[in-house]
């Protein structure tokens, strides 16, 4: 069946968005060659924040436990690597699988509750997993972290060098693929049902759709993406610490998402880049009070741009278009 005009416009916009992400990513590669390890960490966290956007932004399920999914992916890839599975692509798939399983478990538990109890459950899950990783030190390395990983060259050719070039380009490629897939998923009828559930669950129910399996499916997708982010971090840094499965990483992910704007996917990327860049730069300027400065900037953004940076940019673009249209009349 030929593509309709509106569908081809949508595909065109998505391709443009992907090209823009690739361009920004490659610009980062050329402009900051000494910071590629940091930029790879930005990509891995961006995958985590994207995964959070799927359940918070698209389904309206609040979570402060997304680190559980990220950590599951990181530890699964790390443990597999230590035990001889060193192919980076395979490690990403292992991370994705672990994240998906964790997403299934987390969703099955969290979706039994609503509102605040649901939020508390998410915190409890990540704390439990953190404690489990700490106690199982013979497998996870405990508080010392899991080390001794040495991933094989990417596609048998590109070594994971000291400067982090291979890891960064690998991460960028992964981000582009994941982003394209997520755009497709969120625009699909399934994605619309998720957004409908966020807006009016009763109406969705009256359409003959059961909310629980739909939300659970989204948790699994979210876990897959977060798990990939965790696995990427494990491959890039070749160490997995307890911080990867912590309440702090979960809370930071939520802050980044709110900062960038929820329910857009682009917001997750913008929020991650701005937050982490701010943290990186301000911490270098003032190693003692950087949290205060970051906090002040965040308060300002939340007060003056409540829909997040992407929402505000969207609103500005709409206003400009409207003004131009009025001027043309």
């Amino acid at each position: 069946m030929p593509m309709t005009a509106s569908a081809s416009r949508t595909v065109g916009r998505d391709l443009l968005g992907l090209a823009l992400i690739a361009l920004v990513g490659l610009a980062g590669y050329w402009l900051f060659p000494d910071n590629l390890a940091f930029l790879t960490r930005v990509i891995s966290v961006a995958l985590l924040v994207l995964s959070l956007d799927l359940i918070v932004g698209y389904c309206g399920v609040a979570s402060l436990g997304q680190g559980a999914l990220y950590g599951a992916g990181a530890y699964a890839a790390g443990i597999a690597c230590v035990h001889g599975i060193t192919d980076p692509v395979l490690l990403i798939l292992i991370g994705a699988g672990a994240g998906a399983i964790m997403g299934l478990l987390m969703g099955a538990i969290m979706l039994r509750a609503h509102g605040l109890p649901q939020l508390v459950l998410s915190i409890a899950i990540v704390q439990l997993l953190h404690e489990a990783a700490n106690k199982a030190s013979s497998i996870t390395g405990g508080s010392d972290g899991l080390s001794g990983m040495s991933p094989a060259p990417l596609f048998g050719v590109f070594e994971f060098d000291l400067w982090g070039r291979s890891a960064y380009l690998f991460g960028l490629g992964l981000l582009l693929i994941v982003f394209a897939v997520l755009r497709f998923v969120t625009r699909s009828p399934f994605g619309m049902v998720c957004r409908g559930l966020k807006e009016d669950p009763l109406r969705i129910s009256a359409l003959g759709i059961y909310a629980f399996p739909v939300l659970l499916k989204m948790f699994v997708i979210s876990g897959t993406v977060a798990g990939m982010g965790g696995a990427l971090a494990a491959i890039a840094t070749q160490v997995v610490g307890l911080d990867s499965v912590s309440f702090e990483v979960s809370a930071n992910a939520l802050v980044m998402l709110v900062l960038g704007g929820i329910g857009h996917l682009y917001g997750a990327l913008i929020g991650t880049v701005i937050f982490m860049a701010l943290e990186h730069v301000v911490a270098a300027i003032n190693p003692f009070h950087w949290m205060t400065l970051v906090g002040a900037v965040l308060i300002a953004i939340v007060l003056f741009a409540p829909r997040g940076l992407s929402g505000t940019l969207d609103e500005l673009a709409r206003m400009l278009t409207r003004d131009r249209w009025r001027a043309g009349r």
């Binding site: 619309m192 957004r195 409908g196 109406r203 003959g208 759709i209």
Partner: protein, 238 residues
């Protein structure tokens, strides 16, 4: 899903401790059209909501195509073939027209939304507009189209013409007429515009304080000025 017959027996339902419907019984054959009349607050919307499983049931049963659906929840009833277009329309205002339709596909291919545009061409013109940007009539078209995309065997239309301009009412009635003529679904039609309701239906019931006080053919009701005045509040049709 083919049209199915609907059989309601001694249904009593309401909200919390408040009984609204009392001992309501009626049947509609597969492919039939039933108009439900009555003044405001007599239980018409509650009846629609009760058929959809959105109220508390105290007694009675509901059968769809010979299957007892009384114990089923809202999603299961909708899955089983009951489709409600509510009075309040309840479209997803944050989604575009097309996205609203996607949400109603229930596993059907995306191309099926062309059926909605064929029924309501106006929706095709506004496919990229958000639900919040639509007029009342367009919202009604969207709510109806989204429900129909799920191919219900029984369609419940709750005051679809309320507050709409006459030209939009005519467009909607024409679309409902085409749906009914196709015989693909049984239609229950709650409407305050008496002539539209009578012209549409094979059979009519009148609700008064949650009970059925009259049932029969549209022509018989047209001829009964006393019933019209007592239960609908009009002196007769000309």
């Amino acid at each position: 899903m083919p049209a199915a017959d609907l059989d309601v027996r001694n249904l009593s339902a309401g909200y919390g401790q408040t009984h609204v419907l009392e001992d309501v019984s009626f049947s509609v054959p597969a492919g039939g059209r039933l108009s439900i009349l009555g003044r405001n607050g007599m239980g018409k919307t509650t009846l629609m909501a009760s058929l959809m499983g959105l109220t508390r049931r105290y007694a009675g049963s509901i059968s769809l195509g010979g299957q007892d659906v009384t114990a089923l929840g809202t999603a299961a009833r909708a899955h089983g073939g009951i489709g409600l277009v509510p009075q309040t329309r309840e479209i997803f205002k944050g989604l575009t027209v097309e996205e609203n339709l996607f949400a109603g596909l229930k596993g059907r291919p995306r191309a099926a939304i062309e059926e909605a545009y064929a029924l309501f061409p106006r929706l095709g013109e506004r496919r990229r507009n958000l639900g919040s940007q639509l007029s009342g009539g367009e919202q009604q078209m969207l709510a109806t189209a989204r429900t129909i995309l799920g191919q219900p065997s029984v369609l419940l239309l709750d005051e679809p013409l309320e507050g709409l301009a006459p030209v939009i009412c005519d467009m909607l009635m024409e679309a409902f007429g085409r749906l009914a003529a196709s015989g693909a679904m049984t239609i229950l039609f709650v409407e305050q515009r008496l002539e539209s309701a009578l012209a549409f239906a094979d059979d009519v019931i009148i609700l008064e304080r949650g009970r059925i006080v009259w049932s029969g053919k549209p022509d018989a009701l047209r001829a009964d000025a006393d019933v019209l005045e007592r239960y609908i509040g009009v002196g007769g049709l000309h």
